[in-house]
Amino acid sequence: MKIFTCIKQVPGISDVKIDPKTNTLIREGIPSIMNPMDKNAIELALSIKEERGAEIIAISMGPPQAENVLLEALSMGADKAYLLTDRAFAGADTLATSHALALGIKKILKDSDSNEKYMVICGTQAIDGDTAQVGPELAEDLDIPQITYVQKFELKGDDKVIAERAFRSEEIVVIETKLPVLISVLKEINTPRFPSMLGIVNAYKKKKVVFLDAEALKAEKAYIGLTGSKTEVFKIFIPERKGEHVKLTGTIEEMVKTLCQNLKEDKIF
């Protein structure tokens, strides 16, 4: 079986700070990291591999520097890694991104020339865009079933898939389907392993990231990158932060009333 894991390189946004004077992002020293939920995806792939054997293929679309996150995936234990990189992919929205990824997966499947079963595992969403759209759009492009928001997963027999999907705050639905399938995982599903030192040494010594450009994928320009995107960014702005410091006045009852009113407006309730 082949397990594709989709990886995204993202800015480590927990380190992003706003400069209060200029109200702009302070970008200095923000590292690029592997999207955290993608690590859960790799961990799941590794546990499936350990249980029943599989070839894990990490795939990403991004600038050449995204090679680093794929090397991290290889260090964790992925067997192969592909980076879809080309200026023609730039500016892609989720629709165009999922198309490029689908072309990549189809090409790898075709080139491997085997009829093995496959599945795709994605992190549910990326911390920079938070759209959670690429997974389902990729499943649609590949024409395979999807199970999103998965927090528990099991493969039974040859191709039976059973997944627990968190769909409401209080309920989980257990869904059954068959391979091939795309699942998107939540961080609750497992604790991703850190790559061991040996894993890192071997990733850099024995494995390599294969770069594929638009031509290698035979991608049609109308469906990739900026041109293939239906949505576009109209404007970007920094949300206004609460700046004022108000001391409430009046009786205690009046003060708590004003407070609750304000909290309601602030969407706390």
């Binding site: 649609e140 199970i147 068959k178 970007i236």
Partner: protein
């Protein structure tokens, strides 16, 4: 396809530099320069006051879509246990507003089974029609059947805007529908307006973990699809108007879906840690004693919040060590942080100043905590907190009434 700067026009004002979320614009010799890391997101284009940034899309041979054929605003309802998710009513409120600006109809689309006798009541939230797709199996959510049904309905009826709740269900089928239609979809929107001239929907959403907001549009294709964060828009007021009802029967069988629902299980409340808590109620020395600590816990409970403590409260054993907020404890950034009886030593402040909203309750009006608090109440917490608990109860009750 490329981005370039017209050096004749560029004044080197730097507006674009500030707008770039990826830090890819430099100002060199009073001219803007775009570095290789640019993702072509286009955020800078609108910012430029002199229109010196040009984002060129390659002309595609594919035929241009006639977007004028698309009319109307749709809201897709989601339900569980035969109860419609609240977000649908919130979307009807917003949807009505958008439809009125566009002078088009608003429709509620419902895929389900046992709703026949509820349709009349459901039709009173401002929509012009309800499209009710009835099929036994659709009493539950099936990803592929939703995608198939909705895609067919959309292709046939051509609405220009489709609003879907950004719930795990909405975010499961919406992208797949969008992909099948080759339509633009914007996730988890918190603001929706219309640019009447182009009839474009301007969709605003938080990105980069809420650090920046992006407004997205879908200029040259229809429908424009959005998933919308629940709880953002007000629920539509109930009216006496009755919506037209269009009922469509589908004869789906279990075998029509590639997936099978095995069962639904209730899950225990998930324990979250302090760093991930959305609301934290913290107590300090002002709580006075361990016996009195329950007052902090009660306030936390009503807000569904986690309890935190200043260093001294941990040392006095009023609260567990792993709940300490501050330099030697946890650094937290919840949506709401309520500091009760905490004076606000720097060691505490560095651990909680990242909170979106900070409320301070303290007897000493000169306490430094008031310098970082957005709302400050000077008073005895033993009196303020019980009053606050009562008021929160009242506010929540009112809200619930409002939300059905």
């Amino acid at each position: 396809m490329s981005i370039r700067i017209d050096e004749e026009l560029c004044t080197g004002c730097g507006a674009c530099q500030a707008s770039c979320p990826y830090g890819c614009i430099e100002i060199i010799d009073d001219k803007a320069r775009i570095t290789d890391e640019c993702t072509l997101c286009g955020a800078c284009v609108e910012e430029c006051p002199v229109e010196a940034i040009i984002l060129e899309r390659e002309e595609i041979k594919a035929e241009k879509m006639d977007i004028s054929q698309y009319k109307g605003v749709w809201v897709i309802a989601e339900h569980y246990n035969n109860k419609i998710h609240n977000v649908a009513f919130q979307l009807l409120g917003k949807g009505r507003e958008l439809a009125d600006v566009l002078k088009v109809n608003l429709s509620l689309v419902l895929l389900g089974d046992d709703f026949d006798d509820k349709l009349e009541e459901l039709g009173q939230y401002g929509e012009d029609e309800i499209i009710y797709v009835k099929s036994k199996i659709l009493k539950d959510y099936y990803s592929d059947l939703y995608v198939k049904t909705l895609t067919e309905l959309i292709q046939e009826n051509k609405p220009e805007i489709i609003l879907i709740g950004a719930t795990p269900t909405g975010r499961d089928f919406a992208p797949r529908v969008a992909k099948r239609l080759n339509a633009g979809l914007t996730a988890d929107c918190t603001g929706l307006t219309i640019d009447l001239e182009t009839r474009n929907l301007l969709q605003t959403r938080p990105t980069f973990g809420g650090n920046i907001m992006a407004t997205i549009r879908t200029p040259s294709s229809r429908p424009q699809m959005s998933t919308v964060r629940p709880g953002i828009f007000k629920i539509a007021p109930k009216t006496n108007k009755k919506a037209k009802i269009r009922k469509i029967n589908y004869d789906y069988k279990q075998k029509d879906s590639v997936t099978k629902i095995v069962k639904v299980i209730s899950r225990e409340k998930i324990k979250i840690n302090l760093e991930e808590a959305e609301i934290i109620v913290s107590g300090g020395r002002g709580v006075k004693s361990k016996e009195n600590w329950h007052i902090i816990e009660e306030l936390a409970e009503i807000l569904n919040a986690e309890v935190g403590g200043s260093r001294v409260t941990v040392e006095l054993n009023w609260v567990d060590h792993d709940r300490q907020v501050g330099q030697t404890g946890k650094t937290v950034s919840p949506k709401l942080y309520i500091a009760c009886g905490i004076s606000g030593a720097i060691q505490h402040i560095v651990g909680m100043q990242g909170a979106d909203i900070i409320i301070a309750i303290n007897k000493d009006e000169n306490a430094p905590i008031f310098k970082v608090a957005h709302y400050g109440i000077v008073g005895d917490l033993n009196k303020v907190i019980p009053a606050l608990i009562e008021e929160i109860k009242k506010t929540k009750k009112d809200l619930k009434k409002n939300n059905l």
